[in-house]
């Protein structure tokens, strides 16, 4: 049997792609992902360059120019392309600055939720036993709470500010991370490379950081994009109900709330921020959907 090495021609003739190459190829072949990611990129750029893009100061009130309609309606003018609100502030500028609030809260809250959810999920999945039971109980308790009501109550008690909203929306949105990372950790933990690391003297901390977390990365990114959309909607709901971002800061949810008294004769005051919100959330969801397709199931590099 020692002669076999030489007589067998190589079995694999074709060159196999690296995981990164495969990822890139799938990414550029996925239309939904490209659309979503393009939309997100555009909105993030608008948020960053808001001062350059906005034609007016979003806080300046021009009382002589209140409730102007958009340029395509009767009575609109090119000075205020999307019209003005009840206090005579330029609507386009407020929408542009509004992206900053939405993106900040979306990213912030999704990150807070990720830190909580992934930590708990990995701990529950890795250690199992009573830790798992305890964390699973926490999850059940969280799922039993009415989220929006709790968020309203908490913001009301603590006092509204952008950081409080980020914290509270984030603290209430970690369950999805937990469920997914816990299951994935359990699966990875039983694989032999974890045992091999343990047999080489790795501590639990080293195993979690070096062996398990890198393998969770793709799932975490996917959930992050989904949670981004959910957090943005949660902020808008809170702002609409008056316990989120406080005036005069331009937030889309707040703008919808302010515009609703005039909804019947100036519908654009409600529709325009609604469209912005829709575009941002659909962008986040398309991107998340696309990422899920790109990274799983057979695309997962194992």
């Amino acid at each position: 049997m020692s002669t076999t090495d030489t007589t067998l021609p190589p079995v694999t003739a074709e060159r196999r792609m690296t995981p990164a190459e495969m990822f890139r190829q799938r990414m550029f072949g996925h239309r939904g992902f490209l659309l979503g990611a393009g939309l997100m990129l555009l909105i993030v750029l608008i948020a960053i360059f808001a001062p350059l893009l906005a034609p007016h100061d979003p806080f300046t009130q021009t009382l002589s120019a209140r409730m102007l309609p958009p340029v395509w309606s009767e009575g609109g003018n090119w000075d205020y392309i999307l019209g003005t609100d009840q206090n005579g502030r330029d609507y386009l500028s407020r929408l542009i600055y509004g992206t900053r609030v939405s993106i900040t809260i979306g990213l912030g809250a999704a990150t807070v939720g990720m830190l909580i959810g992934v930590t708990l999920g990995v701990l529950a999945g890795y250690f199992g036993g009573w830790i798992d039971h305890g964390i699973s109980f926490l999850l059940t308790a969280q799922l039993a709470l009415p989220g929006l009501l709790l968020a309203m109550a908490l913001v009301f008690i603590i006092g509204p500010s952008i950081w409080v909203v980020i914290g509270i929306v984030g603290v209430l949105h970690w369950t999805y991370y937990l469920v997914v990372t816990r299951a994935a950790t359990q699966r990875i933990r039983s694989q032999d490379f974890v045992a091999a690391a343990a047999a080489s003297g790795a501590t639990s901390r080293q195993i979690i950081w070096h062996e398990i977390l890198p393998n969770l990365l793709s799932q975490i990114i996917v959930i992050f994009t989904f949670e981004l959309g959910i957090a943005i909607l949660a902020e808008s709901s809170l702002s609409f109900l008056g316990v989120g971002i406080q005036p005069p800061t331009p937030s889309w949810g707040l703008m919808i709330a302010e515009g609703k008294q005039a909804m019947f004769y100036r519908p654009w005051l409600v529709i325009l921020p609604g469209i912005c919100l829709f575009l941002l959330v659909i962008g986040a969801n398309l991107m998340g959907d696309g990422l899920r397709d790109i990274t799983s199931p057979e695309g997962r590099n194992e």
């Binding site: 049997m1 020692s2 002669t3 076999t4 090495d5 007589t7 067998l8 021609p9 079995v11 694999t12 074709e14 060159r15 196999r16 792609m17 690296t18 995981p19 495969m22 190829q25 799938r26 039971h133 694989q191 032999d192 490379f193 045992a195 091999a196 690391a197 343990a198 047999a199 080489s200 003297g201 790795a202 501590t203 080293q206 070096h210 062996e211 890198p214 393998n215 990365l217 997962r300 590099n301 194992e302």
Partner: protein, 541 residues
Amino acid sequence: MTLLDIQNLDITLSLPNGPLHVVRDVSLSLAKGEALGIVGESGSGKSMTALALMRLLPRSASCTAARMAFDGQDLPALDGPAFTAAIPGPKIGMIFQEPMTSLNPVYTIGRQMTEAAVARGLLSVPEARQKAVALLDRVGIPDPQDRMAQYPHQLSGGQRQRVMIAMTLMLDPDLLIADEPTTALDVTVQAQILDLLDDLRRERQMGLILISHDLAVVAQRTDRVAVMYMGELVEQGSAQDVLFEPRHDYTKALLAAIPRLDGPPRHAGDSAATDEVIAARDVTRRFTSRKGLFGPKRETLALDGVSLSVKRGETLALIGESGSGKSTLARILLGLDQPDAGEVRMLDRPVADLAPTDRAAFVQPVFQDPYTSLNPRRRLAEIIARPLVLRDEGDRASRLAAVEEAMERVRLPARLLHAYPSQLSGGQRQRVAIARALVTRPQALICDEPTSALDVSVQAQILDLLDELRRDMGLTCLLVTHDMAVVHEVADRIAVMYRGRIVEEGSAEAVLSNPSNDYTARLLAAAPRFGETAEDRQVAR
């Protein structure tokens, strides 16, 4: 008369990096009541050929054939519904490799067995039940009447495979395709299932296609053998001819690679050393499981007072079937699991007193499945260097040198240094796992079924490599396996495990030629073997 006739079959898979011809120009034919064996390594296209016949190819595959006829009927001419109604089931039955997943877990055995015949209107429900009971009895399931109401999880792997066979026989197929029917089963069970298939074929004048990577298994049970390699049929002929007068180089290599049970063991207890480096004394391990949070506790005794010692420089083989506790023992010896009672000593110190990194410096593992034993997110250089990093040994440059040396030792080309595991073949992955185990220069290796997930020819290479390393580096080796032939090739001493106990222990020569325990004798008898001596050939003819 010909039952099956396939001419010039081509199958192409479209993969992201271009089309892959998995089957090229394959022609096969089978007479009524004849048994054909298709042999080849994983990826040789043998399963694809069978799947094409059943129209079960993956969606990305396209298939063309000059002729594909079954019992005089042209298969490609049939449209989807007509094919489904006529061919799979009543004409061709198929058994799959993995009995654990090929039955639906939420339906009873009885329902799954009778479903097809009743739905086709061939039998009424009571008739179908009667037939199912009779068939279960025929395939050797005890208490068939009671089994009908049971669910798949209540049966063992071998029993499930029997149920699968009985299920395909419900529709009296003219041809039975068995795709690696015994690969997932223990050796003793494997022999029973193959005998059963053989008997059924003769009894019913049924055609049989037996697909396997194991040439020894196939040659024993079939009339004709076809050898496939990289999608092509390299040799086809009567089982005797292929086995004893192989014409193609690949077949010869394949035959040479099969570990043999005949002749004296290669290592006839040549180690004279007596100092024990790893020793287990009365090790007991219980597993308790609970159904839900408040359910009743269930206990299983995985290890029942096991004592075992490995002496310096020897290769000790630990043999047993799945569930015998051999892997649990290996995990305990590696310090990955703690025994409930008893003690493990390493270098004459209790293993519990050793720091994990000291233990790692002494003994390293090689696991069974090279597809899960490497972190898919890390490059080879990182994977192999990891034990050094964990021990905080050397700097970046010295680690890289150590990695390169280890890779050279296991004969991995240096260009793979920055490759990911997904870019490697199974054999290469196992080499990486061995390189990782050797990078800290341990004195002992514990190999848990290091070759059972690999093809025969790769298995031979890995066994040779382990043997060579053992000699060069003076390694002590504990080899956990279920394969008697592998043991015969490499072991100095043998310990046989059965249901959590060691039932026999002794030198390889003594145990293999003269087993004192019933179970060992059964294991030996069940191991597929075929001779190559002139005498054997005479008998075979």
